[in-house]
């Protein structure tokens, strides 16, 4: 039974990271209806900037984490300004393809640095001994990661519910024409959405890199796995991303824990999310909490 609880615990850890990664994706989709395929690259950028500041420059990790959030915030904003601003009003296909190109560009830029090919890991700054409770053990980094994730998601929910900017972003996602007519600047909202997405991606990157180490492929794979998460949760629901992130984290851990080795199956944790994604697309494409505005053909 403690095996089960161990799986639940690690599922929640992985799931909360998925939720945080999915958050940034949902932010962009919610305001501008763009699928950002370069999300994984932003996640890894956040992680690499944190590492470079901590180890390369020698700033304490708490401050460098915050600095990386700020840097990625600005970076995502300028990406929106340079590449996506002039595509407002273009068909959605070309906007999505621009994000594919962006993903390629960022890949290339990261490969120019040692981070693209080599592995690094953060210096330990938390106690090494894991917390054990009733046979379930969680490391300090995981615990801090989960707590940070909860705080960030709460902050983002507050931002969307209460602050003027958050409300204007929701208004734009609801009806662009109407929000323009009451004086909301749509380009500014799009820019802010990208910036906020970059911010949350960097946060996710910092947390993931502390748990799994800095490996470019692993970090980028978190940007790909957000697709099952956000589809399961509903593309435009922050709450959905959180719930779906934790559900998928649990399912992945259970698959890895119970299915691997059965019938000669291996690596099911990588496969299960995509099957769930296909099933969800077939039977309930708006996900668990998305709004029901899918156009049927």
């Amino acid at each position: 039974m403690s095996y089960f609880f161990q799986l639940v615990a690690s599922g929640i850890v992985v799931g909360s990271i998925y939720a945080l990664s999915g958050l940034g994706f949902v932010l962009i989709y919610k305001s501008s209806r763009v699928l950002n395929l370069a999300h994984g690259q932003f996640i890894s950028l956040g992680a690499f900037i944190t590492y470079a500041l901590t180890v390369g420059v020698g700033i304490p990790i708490y401050i460098s984490f915050l600095l990386s959030l700020v840097i990625t915030f600005l970076l995502a904003m300028s990406v929106e300004r340079v590449f996506l601003r002039r595509l407002i009003g273009e068909p959605i296909i070309s906007v999505i393809m621009v994000t594919i190109g962006l993903m390629s560009i960022l890949n290339g830029l990261i490969y120019l640095t040692p981070f693209g090919t080599e592995n690094f890991s953060f210096p330990e700054f938390l106690p090494k001994t894991p917390i054990t409770m009733g046979g379930v053990s969680i490391s300090w980094t995981q615990l801090v990661g989960v707590i940070l994730t909860v705080i960030l998601i709460a902050a983002f929910s507050w931002f969307f519910k209460k602050s003027t900017l958050g409300i204007s972003m929701r208004a734009v996602s609801d009806d662009q024409m109407a929000s323009m007519s009451i004086g909301i600047s749509i380009p500014r909202v799009f820019g802010l959405a990208w910036a906020a997405a970059g911010f949350s991606a960097a946060a996710a990157g910092g947390i993931i890199a502390n748990i799994t180490g800095l490996n470019f492929d692993t970090l980028v794979s978190f940007g790909i796995i957000v697709f099952p998460v956000v589809i399961l949760g509903g593309l435009d629901s922050i709450f959905g991303a959180v719930v779906a992130g934790i559900i998928l984290g649990l399912i992945q851990q259970f698959a890895a824990g119970y299915l691997d080795g059965l019938w000669g199956l291996f690596g099911t944790a990588d496969l299960v999310p995509w099957f769930i994604l296909l099933i969800i697309l077939l039977i309930k494409p708006h996900g668990l909490f998305g709004i029901h505005e899918i156009e049927r053909v």
Binding site: R33, L35, L37, F83, R86, L87, E90, I92, I93, S94, I96, M97, V98, I100, G101, L102, M103, S104, I105, L106, N107, G108, L109, Y111, L112, G116, T117, I224, F227, P228, I231, L235, G264, L265, F266, G267, D270, L271, W274, F275, L277, L278, L281, L282, P285, I294, E295, R296, V297
Partner: protein, 364 residues
């Protein structure tokens, strides 16, 4: 009025039938035939090394794959970021035969044209299956469906013992009328075979596009409600576009497998899907000519990037592997720049050049 069938300075069409001609003037046809002749006979006069021939063969195989992607993304307006997986389906169809019957079974070595078409058929079936969500969903969600197909494909290949866990599965040399294709004939032989496939499929696509089934794709792309009102079935059309795209991708995959004499997992990753998309965009989405320009341009770019990184290596020996960095960087830049400044791709430059030549020496 008697028309000049050699040179046309304007639009003299009097019927829809005339407008749907492949060649508007005899001159067009003559130029095309001359071009075909040149393409078929140049290897008799010029001899390239294996490395160059490999690149040329690769371009031709990519052209077939891009026919499929162009039909899907350009004409039917459905983005696919799993095209390399469809190509992989074709290649792994051959690999399945190689694993079951041995790599030099008669079926693989003698009945290869059949095998290539069979691989196309399997690709079409899988394509239609992946396109099934298209019965209910619009493009945003279809992008994700193709992405998940790519991921599932990678998983299946990587984790199944049957497919050698992604390691190369070799495929034997083929036979033709003059016996076994030897090592030094290999690339030339596949140059001709792939070229024949390119020409035949090119005509097939061109003819498809001027039939009702081709116009149906464009109609559904432009406005699916209007298409529905005109009596087409948008969902079915999309599934059918996926099947067509899968067919071309499957054939390309089989040719790729024969040409490399083996099937390995590294040729069909997400990265390659993006390359295919880059080829389609750079060539020009929604134009047949684009299918030729795109792969050529991207492969040229690839070679240039390799040269550049080798040159850089002589300058700074410390820069270990610039090519891995410069390749995605340049591809991404090319995609983004083309989308921002020339969304109609190189095919548009071709169109401009043609109109200019047609009216020369007059400006318009």
């Amino acid at each position: 009025m008697a028309q000049n069938r050699w040179l046309a300075t304007g639009n003299f069409f009097t019927s829809h039938r005339q407008e749907q001609r492949i060649f508007f003037t005899h001159l067009d046809r003559l130029v095309f035939i001359c071009f075909l002749v040149i393409v078929f006979i140049w290897p008799l006069f010029i001899e390239f090394g294996n490395k160059t021939m490999l690149v040329i063969d690769n371009i031709l195989v990519a052209i077939i794959a891009i026919y499929g992607l162009n039909l899907l993304t350009g004409y039917a307006g459905l983005i696919s970021i799993g095209h390399a997986a469809f190509v992989g389906v074709g290649a792994y169809t051959l690999a399945t035969f190689a694993r079951l019957l041995g790599s030099s079974h008669v079926l693989l070595t003698h009945a290869w044209p059949l095998m290539i078409l069979l691989a196309g058929g399997v690709g079409a079936v899988i394509g239609a299956f992946v396109g099934l969500p298209a019965l209910r969903l619009k493009h945003l969600y279809l992008v994700i469906a193709t992405l998940s197909f790519q991921m599932i494909f990678q998983w299946v290949i990587n984790f199944s013992k049957f497919f050698n866990q992604g390691q190369t599965i070799s495929i034997g040399r083929v036979f033709w009328f003059a016996g076994k294709v030897t090592r030094d004939q290999h690339y030339l032989f596949w140059y001709y075979i792939t070229l024949i496939f390119v020409v035949v499929f090119g005509f097939a696509v061109r003819n498809l596009l001027r039939s009702r089934y081709g116009r149906c794709l464009v109609a559904v792309r432009d406005n699916d409600r209007a298409a529905d009102a005109m009596g087409m079935h948008p969902g079915f059309t999309k599934v059918y576009a996926f099947a067509l795209s899968g067919f071309f991708a499957g054939c390309a995959g089989a040719l790729h497998a024969y040409m490399w004499r083996g099937v390995g997992f590294e040729s069909f990753t997400l990265h390659h899907s993006i390359n295919y998309l880059a080829m389609a965009i750079v060539g020009g989405l929604g134009s047949l000519m684009g299918s030729f320009f795109g792969p050529t341009a991207i492969f040229m770019l690839d070679i240039e990037v390799e040269h550049l990184s080798e040159f850089a290596k002589t300058l700074f020996p410390a820069a270990l592997d610039l090519a891995t960095a410069l390749r995605p960087l340049s591809f991404g830049l090319v995609i983004v720049l083309f989308l921002m400044f020339e969304p109609r791709g190189i095919a548009n430059w071709w169109r401009i050049a043609r109109t200019y030549l047609k009216l020369w020496p007059f400006r318009y």
